[in-house]
Amino acid sequence: MDVATRQPFLGLNLERRYRLVYKPAVFVASLMPLAWMACGLFGWLGLSAGVDPVKFLELENGKTALNFIMLTLMMTPVRQLTGLTHPIRLRRMIGLFAFFYALLHFTVYVVLDLDLDWHMVGADLVKRPYITVGFTALMLLVPLAVTSTNRMMRRLGRRWNRLHRLVYVIAVLGVWHFYWQEKLDVREPSIYALILAILLGYRCARSAWLRRLLTSKRAHQAR
């Protein structure tokens, strides 16, 4: 039995706590970057989007999408290292927000930056490798968002897990896209690359360790 269910919180059981407290809280928190951008855009709360609001929106939405993807990749290590199960139950919502911000990022680029010049969008997609990479990441997010419902999870079963491993590819493409568009100063994208390397490296190390544990156990039993 889950420890949490034994200690009532606000008199709510676990299911209702997720539905009424945790999920709404994460939902509101996930909208904060959007609220922050709106404040900048309209000059609320003394914030400013600066002289070039188009670039501001493009960059902020892109980075926020990347931040959310990184967050989703942190849930599993957090559970494995601390035993906390809450984060993983909120992962779907965070992943969907990553898709939301990536879509906003792309929309700003197409509508505000290129002004719906589809010829230019097409040329960019074909000729500019960093845009091709970013667009590929966005396209790969689509099937993950579509299959995020409970029904789809049940229907796909084990294949669902395999499909959603695409997030590793998406994360690499996303960081690569960020890195590649920089003119010179790659310090910020390098930080993302480092964090991603740690998150993926952790998984590789852990599965190698588990495999070794398993084989030595088998060897032990055989003896």
Binding site: G50, V51, P53, V54, L112, D115, K127, Y130, D185
Partner: protein
Amino acid sequence: MMTRIPRIAPSEITPPEKYLNRRAFLAGALAVGASFGRASAASIPARAGAPLDYTHDGADSVGALVHASGQNEAPNTWEQITNYNNYYEFGTGKTDPAEYAGQLQTRPWNIAIGGEAEVTGSFPLEEFVRPYALEERIYRFRCVEAWSMVIPWVGFPLAQMLQRFKPNSRAKYVAFETLYRPSQMPGQRVPILQWPYREGLRIDEAMNPLAFMVVGLYGRVLPNQNGAPLRLIVPWKYGFKSIKAIVRIVFTEARPQTTWAVAAPSDYGFYANVNPNVPHPRWSQATERRIGNPFFHERQATLMFNGYADEVAYLYKGMDLRRYM
């Protein structure tokens, strides 16, 4: 050499009352000018946005207001021009220069002239600027990152300045260097570019009447984030050619090394002429976004040589501009 003066239609002369109180401008210039001299130079405050504190021998006007942006485009605001800068000496963010350039001491300031010229040596800024009648030029400014502005600079033609030092026949190029002072330019503590920043022009490019030395903006002292106290403006080239905070000018026979061409030779060339037909390896240069345009405003077509082809195209006759990017 052939000189071509930009054609100025009367309608293109910007009405001064629009943004510039010329009388106040002159009063300021004259008042400070009266007290000029080597000794007082160090004590002259050079606050960004203060009335220009330069004057020149004899003449009593600030010179013509030249609207050379071609299509009578409205200049960007002071706010926009001074808060959106690429000036890596103060950081790579667009607002870093506005935030950190205030600490740069622009007085005293000396400019060293060297190389293939009869007159060389070190000149205090005031003495350096004094011989020239300041004039205003409203130029298009096109960044290699595909954004643009229209900016009312105040300064004097580069050609006038160079001729004063009597370059000799071996002077094929002019090399410029920015101040190196990491204590006041925090960006220089990070080795992302080779410091100090260096730029250069072919001598005939430098002698073109459009090439301009700038000491002011909107009739005021040039703010530090825009390259105070002395910067170059070459309006038909991408912005990075227009070097800021100049401390050294050298006439050379060999083509000088330039910072961005050294940092990324496949992305940036020595010439860096604005050219919609030659894309940057990672983005198109065919169109540009004018800073300050409202949302849903169309991008505008980038013009050959940033719209100054009539004035400068002769410099590149017979050159393959794809090769000499």
